[in-house]
């Protein structure tokens, strides 16, 4: 039931309130009604909900499947980049006896060196590919007091919306923790993805969750966080980026 104190055109004014076309005096009047009459609040909510539903009238257009993949990649921690089948090889070779031990050891060393070089090559290729993008931004990463030995490089490709980070001596975190990359713009941290290196020299690449991560005037920081924590920086600052 409508209060007799409300004027005849009260609903018209509410429609104007939703459409944002009232003058200051009318807005004040509606605000006053909202504090006095529950039916005004209910009607305003209904009109607002009606306005919000307008896009539902559009013929549905599903997004390409690629969009779903990109979003899930952006919110899922990066998978470990390297594999370590060395142990299987070495166990197999140990059984060949002492005579073969030296050969096996040499083979392992060669294999590991090969792996290191291949990783370095992949790393170099990925970095070179990123460098070849004229819009790419390069940051030198240096460890803070928490991880003073750590160093690395960060390449942000705003066109491909990807981040590539190479790290040296940044410790592997437990499975419940991740390193998170932040872009600081006007003091506001923007979440730019996360990773966890699996070896002393490692690289990780992922899709950027926010376009602002590729902005020119941002400072890049890396913190260590629990993987289930909300994407707000709360853990130790471990690396800083200098462009």
């Amino acid at each position: 039931m409508t209060s007799p104190s409300l004027p005849e055109n009260w609903r018209t004014l509410l429609a104007g309130y939703v459409l944002n076309d009232l003058d200051a005096e009318e807005v004040a009047l509606v605000d006053q009604w909202l504090s006095q009459y529950p039916e005004v609040t209910a009607e305003l909510d209904a009109l607002q909900a009606t306005w919000n539903r307008i896009p539902e009238s559009l013929p549905i257009e599903p997004p390409p499947p690629l969009v779903r993949d990109r979003i899930l990649a952006a919110v899922t921690p990066a998978a470990p980049a390297a594999t370590t089948p060395a142990r299987r090889w070495s166990w197999g070779l140990v059984g060949f006896g002492l005579g073969w031990a030296a050969t096996a050891l040499a083979l392992i060393v060669v294999w590991q060196e090969n792996q290191r070089l291949r990783l370095a090559l992949r790393q170099t290729e990925a970095v070179v590919a990123s460098f070849s993008q004229p819009a790419s931004r390069l940051y030198t990463l240096t460890g803070t007091d928490v991880e003073p030995q750590a160093s690395g490089r960060l390449v942000i490709d705003p066109n491909d919306r990807t981040a590539l980070v190479t790290t040296t001596d940044l410790p592997t975190l437990s499975s419940r923790e991740v390193y998170r990359l932040w872009a600081i713009a006007d003091g506001d941290p923007i979440y730019c993805g996360e990773f966890n290196p699996q070896q002393p020299q490692d690289f990780n690449q992922w899709a950027l969750p926010d376009l602002a991560c590729g902005d020119v005037d941002v400072q890049m920081l890396i913190t260590a966080e629990r993987s289930t924590d909300p994407p707000v920086p709360a853990g130790d600052l471990v690396m800083e980026g200098q462009s």
């Binding site: 306005w51 919000n52 896009p55 969009v67 952006a74 993987s227």
Partner: protein, 195 residues
Amino acid sequence: MAPFSTPDSMPESKISDRDLINRLWAGHTEALAILYDRYASLVYTLALRMLSNPAEAEDLTQEVFVNFWQRRQYDPDRGSVGSYLTTYTRSRALDRLRVSSGRANILQRFQRITAASSRSATPFDHASQQEDQQQLRAALAQIPDTERQVLEIAYFQGLSQSQISEKLGIPLGTVKSRSRQGLLRLRDLLRRHQA
């Protein structure tokens, strides 16, 4: 991260939005995939309509869902996921369109807008979503073309009423009365459908 599981192997379609949000906030990012499957078409359709560019619409869809997960500003007690996502998508799309005259107002109104329709969607809601859309289209078809036109321009292009007046070459007062009448008519028609 703990594996994502549903109680008693509940099918995804039966999990309410609120449960999915709770799981997402608890760190189960897989819940975002289910929310995406429910709302991505709505978000993308709106983004495409407003930006008229598939690549930009894809980009905005990604931004909307990643920010939804990242910023955690959505409160299930204050409105439905669909309402929040469409409002946020519209706001971001208008930002991209650089509708400078409307921008401040839109941002200012964002909190108020998301407070409306304060009921969280249930699985039943998703089942009847198509029916609701048909009702909305039918209701929109019943209001005069002149009223529908100003409402659609205001919503999808974010133009102020004086800009609409200029664009259509009609007096500002006419734009104002058409848009208010159109919204009231639409609301009454939908109420009748729901009754």
